[in-house]
Amino acid sequence: MRVLAKIRVLTAVCGLFLLCGASSAEGERDGAELVSLSGRVDYKPVRDSQWTPAARGMFIPQGGILRTGEDGRAMLLFPNKTKVWLKELSTLEIEVQKNLASKIAVFAGNVKVRVPHLKWKEIFEVRTDPAVLAVRGTEFVVGADKDGNLDLDVLYGEINLHYSVPPEDGSADVQINQGVRYSVTSEPAGTRQETGVTVVVDEAQRRGTVYKGTTAMLTRSQEVAGIENWDPGLSPAQRVGDLVAKVQQRQDMRNFAGAVDRTQRVVESLTNQVMESDFEAGRTLRDVHGNLVRVDQRLMRPDNSSLQLINLVKRPDYSNSDGHFSYYGSDVSNRLDSFQTWMTFNMNVPQNISDWGSFFTNQNVKVNKMIMVAANQTKNNQIYMTGIVAENKQLANPNAANELTDNGKMYFGTVDLAGYNAFAQGTAKSDDTSLSPSTNGAVLDANNNDISGLAWAQRPDYEGGWNYRNPTSQDLRAVITWDAPDNIMAGYEATPYCIGANCSVNSKKVWLSADYFVINNSGSPRKVTDFTNSLSNSITQLASATAGEAVIYVKNNVNGAPDNTLGGDTNYAISGGFTNPLKKNIDIVVIPDIAMAMAIKLWPAFKDVKKDSK
C-alpha cells in the first residue's frame, strides 16, 4: 500500500510539472508579434492561404507572410527582441522562428531590421532573391524587388551576405560593414561585368540571370533614410524629428566650440605677446613653515643690455617655525618678500629669445655687473634687505680675467623704497670713503646722498682684522656649512662680515645667516633620492614640484658666533639702530620654473658662464 501511495504522489508531482511545462509553452507564442501598424496591412498564416487584414497585437506564425499596401506600414517584434519594420509595399515571410534561429524572407519592398543581440550560437538571417544575409550586427535596411535587385544599407554592425550560388570569379560570401551600401542588380545572362565587381550566376535557380554586386559608402540621404523613425503612423516630419533635434544639438555644440576656440585664440595671442617679451612663471605652494605662499617670477629686459629676474613671494599670513636661527618677529599678515637679480651686459641682448643661445656663446659677451638683492618688502618705508653687487674684473683692469667679483662686500639694512630701488637698479654707490669716519659703512645714492638705513660690510677674509676661522672646518667664511642628514636637502650657514670693513670693533661685526631648504609644493623638505629616481619623474616635472627657500638674517656677533639667544633682539638690523619692528628676517621662496625654461633655452650659453672663484 505504501508503494502505491508513493507512486500516486510521484504521479501527482509529475503531472504538476507537466502542467507547468504546458502552461510555459503556451506563454511563448509562436511567431512574431505585430506590435504596430498603420494603413493597409495584410497577412496569411501559410503561403497557400488567403490574405486577410492584419490586426495590431496578432502573432505572425512561422510560415506566415505579411505585406503592406500603398499606405501601409508595420512593425514586428520577435521573441529575441528583434524588431522588423516594413515600409509601404513590402512583403516578408517568417520562414523560421525557433529558439536559436530566426529567418525571414524579403520578397519586395523596404525592410529595416534591428537585432539587439544574439545568444551564443543563435542566428538571424534575412533571405532575398539573390542572397542570404546573416546578421552579425545590429541594424540594417533591406530594399528588394521582384526582379532580384537588392540594396543593403548597413547602419550598425556587420552583415555577412551569402549568394545563393557561388560566383564564378570569387567567394560567395561578402562581408559588409556599417556605413556601407551593398547593391545587387540582376542582368540578363551572357553579360559579363567589368573587373573588380562581384559576378554571380545563379544557374540552378535563376537560369538566364547574372547578379552584379557593388559596394559604396552610404550617402547622407541613405543614412538618414535608414536611421529615421520607421514606426507606423508617423508623419514625415515626425520620422526625422529626432534627427533634426540631434543636428540642432550638433550645431549648438559647433557654435559653442567655435566660441571657445575664438576665446582660446585671444588668450593664446595675449600669452604669446607676453612670452615674446618675457619669461614668467607663478606657483602657489606652502613654505617650510606651513605658510601659504604665492610665488611670481618674471624675467624682464629693463634696458637693451640688461636682464632682470624678479621673484616675488607673497604670503597672506606669516609665521616662522623652522630653522637654526632664532626668529623673534611676531606673526605678520600680507607679507611680501622679494629676490631680484639684475645683470648688465657689455652689449645689447637680442630681442628674440631664440637668439639668446648664440648671444651667450659669443665670446665677446661679458657680464659687466650683477646685482642680487633679497628683501622683506612688507612695508614700503621699511624694506629690510641684503644684497650683493658683483662687477667684472676687467672693468677695473682690462688685463684681468673675465670674471665677476663681489670683492667680499655685502649690503644690508632697512630702507625706504627709494633707497631700495637705488640699490636694486645699480645706481647706488657702494662704500663711501668720503664720509667720516669711512668705517661707518654708509652707502650713497647717485646724487651722493646717504641712503639712510643702508650699510655695507666686508668679509674679514678680504680685509683682515677679524681672524675668524671655523674651528671645525677652518673655513674663513662660514661658521656652519651644509648639513643634510638622512639625505634631507636642507642646511644652514652663517658668514661673518664687518660693517664698513671695520673688523677691529666688535659692534661692527655681524653674521649674514641663512637657513636653506629644498621643498616640495607642500613645504616638506625634499630628499636627494627624490631627484635620483628618474624613472618615476622627469627633471622638468620634479622642477615644477620643487622650490628653494632661504630664510635670511643679519645677526649680531656674540663671542665669534651669530647671536642666537632666545628672547632678545639678536638681529643687527634692530640692535644696530635700523627700524625693523616686525620683520626680522627675509624669507624667500624661489621656484626654478624660469630657470628651467632658460636652462633649456640657453643651455649652450650656460656651459661657458664663468664663475667667480670666490
Partner: protein, 248 residues
C-alpha cells in the same frame, strides 16, 4: 665614428630643425636648445617617437585583428624595430545592445641603431633604447559612419646611453644619460570614414602621471596610415608619420 653618437640624437632632428633654425638665424643655437631639451628628459623625447608607432585607434568594423609596422619616423630614420598588434575582443553590440566594440592592443620597439652603435663605436659603452605599450579601446558608433573611441593605455620607455668619453653635441658635453618613462594614459578620439577602407581619425592622449599631452590626426587606408602627431610640449612639436598595417 666619433660623430656616430651625435647622429643618434641628431639624425632625426635635422629635417625638422633646419627650417626653424634658418628662421631663427642660428642652427647651432636651435640645435643646442633641442639637445638641451632632450638631455633634460631623454625618455620623453624617445617616447614621442614611440607614440608615433602606437596603434591606439580601433579596429575597423568587420576586422578581428591586425598588425602594424611603424615606418616613419620610427623605423626610418630613428631605427626603431617595431611591431604592434591589435585584437578585437567584442564587436559593437554583439553581447548586448549598447556594448561597445572592445579592442586590446600592444606593441614593442627597440632601437637597433643603438645596438649597432655599441658594436661599431669605441665611444659608446652601452646603449639601450626600447619601449612597449599595451592598452584597451572601447568604440561606439554615434551614427552609421562616425565612431567615438576611448580607453586606457600603459606605455613604458627606457633610454640609457653611456659613452666612454664626453661628446660635443651641438655644443653640449654629453657623456651619459639613463632615463625612463612610464605612465598610464587616457585616450579619446573620433573616427570617420572617407570612403571604402579609408578613414580619418583624430585622437588625444593624456598621461595621468607625467601629464603628457599629444594629439594625433591620421588618415588610414587599407594598408597604410599617414599621420600628423602633435606634441605641444615636445622637442619636435609636429611629427609626420607613415605606418603600414594589415587587418584580418
Amino acid at each position: 665614428m666619433r660623430k656616430f653618437t651625435a647622429a643618434l640624437l641628431a639624425v632625426s632632428l635635422v629635417p625638422f630643425l633646419f627650417q626653424n633654425a634658418v628662421r631663427a638665424g642660428s642652427l647651432e643655437a636651435k640645435g643646442g636648445e633641442i639637445v638641451a631639451q632632450i638631455l633634460t628628459n631623454p625618455a620623453a623625447f624617445f617616447y614621442e617617437f614611440q607614440q608615433d608607432l602606437e596603434w591606439t585607434t580601433p579596429l575597423p568594423p568587420g576586422s578581428w585583428g591586425g598588425v602594424q609596422l611603424g615606418i616613419f619616423p620610427v623605423l626610418l630614420p630613428m631605427g626603431y624595430a617595431n611591431l604592434s598588434g591589435k585584437l578585437r575582443l567584442h564587436p559593437e553590440g554583439r553581447w548586448f545592445p549598447g556594448m561597445p566594440q572592445v579592442d586590446v592592443y600592444g606593441g614593442y620597439w627597440k632601437m637597433l641603431l643603438a645596438d649597432m652603435a655599441v658594436k661599431q663605436s669605441d665611444d659608446i659603452t652601452s646603449a639601450d633604447f626600447h619601449g612597449q605599450y599595451v592598452g584597451l579601446t572601447l568604440t561606439t558608433s554615434v551614427s552609421p559612419k562616425v565612431r567615438l573611441f576611448g580607453g586606457w593605455k600603459y606605455a613604458r620607455v627606457r633610454a640609457n646611453l653611456q659613452l666612454s668619453k664626453q661628446q660635443d653635441i651641438f655644443g653640449t658635453k654629453v657623456d651619459s644619460f639613463s632615463s625612463g618613462l612610464e605612465d598610464h594614459f587616457l585616450v579619446a578620439g573620433i573616427e570617420y570614414p572617407t570612403g571604402l577602407n579609408k578613414w580619418w581619425t583624430m585622437q588625444f592622449n593624456y598621461g595621468l602621471t607625467q601629464e603628457l599631452i599629444s594629439a594625433k590626426l591620421g588618415w588610414s587606408g587599407q594598408y597604410f596610415d599617414l599621420g600628423l602627431n602633435v606634441y605641444p610640449e615636445g622637442v619636435l612639436v609636429i611629427h609626420p608619420t607613415w605606418n603600414f598595417h594589415v587587418y584580418f
